[in-house]
């Protein structure tokens, strides 16, 4: 038996984010590393140095649109009659005291000093994943827009703000790329309970046993509220599984390719 974890809209948002993020990482890296042999090769994939920038700008625009759509979606999901519970309740991604407690219990468990925490629907590291994108994307968007429209920006800000914007854009991009390709990929693919691939985001559902093992408090709450029955779902079709395995692994391979080469070639990029 499987229970639903993500609805279709959330899955679409994630798919959109995967594609746009990889395009931005690829085009951004091809420009950042253009002075190295690998960077040149990478830029050919996107039509060269100038076309890379063009793709980067348009994809950035798409990401901003996606973020605004996501904000609208968030507003539609808030239960305005019961605002407090809706924002700080267990179905919300807003961090709360319980997360700090879970973090502490989990560290103890990792060291073999206690039982695992009874996690709710969203674990603290999943919340971190979400909020990292949530504040990282606007930072990249604002600094990116400043760099796309430098003359207009300089009407309100002095020109040296562009130096700072370029630095912030690069630094946040490097942070995002390292986090996603190291930590997020490890959690999603490599750790034993996910290996070879955590299908929750693509299937939209998780195995009952899996949920019981990692998120017991969530399943218990669903049972208590009588929502377990409506939350059950059919397993994904085989053809669909094959598609998302191929897609997921392509994304993984491309990400690791960017990460490994980025690390190898980073000493040769001289931009101060």
């Amino acid at each position: 038996m499987r229970i639903r974890r993500f609805n279709k809209v959330e899955q679409l948002f994630h798919l959109f984010l995967i594609i746009t993020f990889l395009v931005q990482a690829g085009t951004g890296f091809s420009r950042f590393f253009i002075t190295t042999a690998w960077g040149k090769k990478l830029s050919y994939l996107f039509g060269g140095y100038d076309t890379s920038l063009l793709i980067h700008k348009w994809t950035g625009g798409l990401m901003i649109a996606g973020f605004l759509l996501h904000l609208i979606y968030l507003l539609s999901r808030v239960n305005w009659q019961n605002l407090g519970k809706s924002i700080f309740g267990p179905d919300s991604l807003v961090p709360n005291l319980q997360d700090a407690r879970h973090l502490w219990q989990r560290i103890l468990w990792l060291l073999g000093l206690g039982p695992p925490p009874k996690l709710e629907r969203w674990a603290y590291w999943e919340k971190f994943d979400y909020w990292a994108v949530f504040w990282g994307l606007p930072l990249l968007a604002v600094t990116g827009l400043m760099l796309i429209y430098p003359l207009q920006t300089c009407r309100i800000l002095p020109g040296w703000a562009l130096n700072v914007a370029a630095l912030l854009h690069r630094a946040e991009a490097i942070l995002a790329v390292l986090y996603i390709f190291l930590v997020h990929f490890f959690i999603g693919h490599l750790r034993p309970s996910s290996f070879p691939m955590n299908e929750a985001m693509f299937a939209g559902t998780v195995e009952m046993e899996e949920a019981m093992a990692e998120k017991p408090a969530w399943v218990e709450r669903l049972k208590e509220e009588g929502k377990l029955e409506p939350a059950t779902a059919k397993p994904p079709a085989l053809w669909y599984r094959i598609i998302y395995y191929i897609f997921g692994y392509s994304a993984l391979v491309f990400g690791v390719y960017l990460l490994v080469n980025g690390i190898i070639y980073s000493p040769y990029v001289r931009l101060h």
Binding site: I156, W160, A171
Partner: protein
């Protein structure tokens, strides 16, 4: 008529002087902005640059480099060698008197300045902005790179519509994390260290965390399978 001239003899040298001054001062560049209205001058367009009620362009107060407090004080604020460096960027020939200058290349001395985006990415050469020999100091009054007219004479060559504010972009960016940058470009320095701390902090927590989770789950699963 003669009487009139004799009475105003003192005016003639003044008028000659004014004529000479008109010839000597540089002509307005075509790209310089014009006053839009006597009352509301560029309020919207150049709000970032400060006061336009009195002056057409006022770029210099926007330099991000702040002077070091306690150093520029007294009648002789700098040592003789430091003063020489500081006066050089006001000279018509900034390399005047440098030994074997003719046999040297820019990057022999200005190596750091060849490593920013304008040179490594846009493939600009030094001469394209700084001009040919003799290279004028950037603060020399008639230099095209003087902040007074830099946006119009240099930046606008590629960046069409460039304003004085836009020209305050620091082309030869200092190393963002270097201690000296804390004094010269504080915002860049603090942004750099803030982002680096964020990066190091995030990875320092999540990489060991992921490895521990991986190991723990490996043993946990094994234990479970054995039961």
């Amino acid at each position: 008529m003669e009487k009139w001239i004799n009475r105003r003899k003192g005016l003639i040298p003044v008028m000659i002087g004014l004529l000479a001054a008109m010839l000597l001062f540089p002509q307005a560049a075509f790209s310089q902005e014009e006053v839009a209205s006597a009352i509301r001058r560029y309020k919207e367009r150049e709000a970032s640059t400060g006061y336009y009620e009195q002056y057409e362009v006022r770029p210099r107060h926007e330099r991000p480099f702040v002077s070091i407090p306690g150093v520029r004080q007294g009648i002789f604020p700098y040592s003789p060698s430091a003063a020489q460096v500081r006066t050089r960027n006001r000279m018509a020939d900034s390399h005047l008197g440098i030994k074997f200058y003719r046999h040297r290349r820019c990057e022999d001395c200005h190596i750091k300045e060849t490593r920013d985006i304008h040179t490594t990415r846009a493939n600009l050469t030094c001469r394209q902005c700084h001009g040919g020999e003799p290279v004028a100091g950037i603060n020399f009054y008639y230099s095209p790179l003087n902040p007074l007219r830099r946006h119009a004479y240099v930046c606008a060559k590629c960046h069409e519509g460039s304003s004085a504010s836009f020209a305050a972009y620091v082309v030869h960016e200092p190393a963002a994390g270097a201690p000296a940058t804390k004094e010269s470009f504080p915002l860049l320095y603090y942004s750099y260290w803030l982002m680096l701390l964020l990066l190091a902090g995030t990875l320092a927590f999540f990489i060991p965390h992921s490895i521990m989770v991986g190991l723990r789950e490996l043993f946990w699963k094994k234990g479970k399978g054995g039961e």
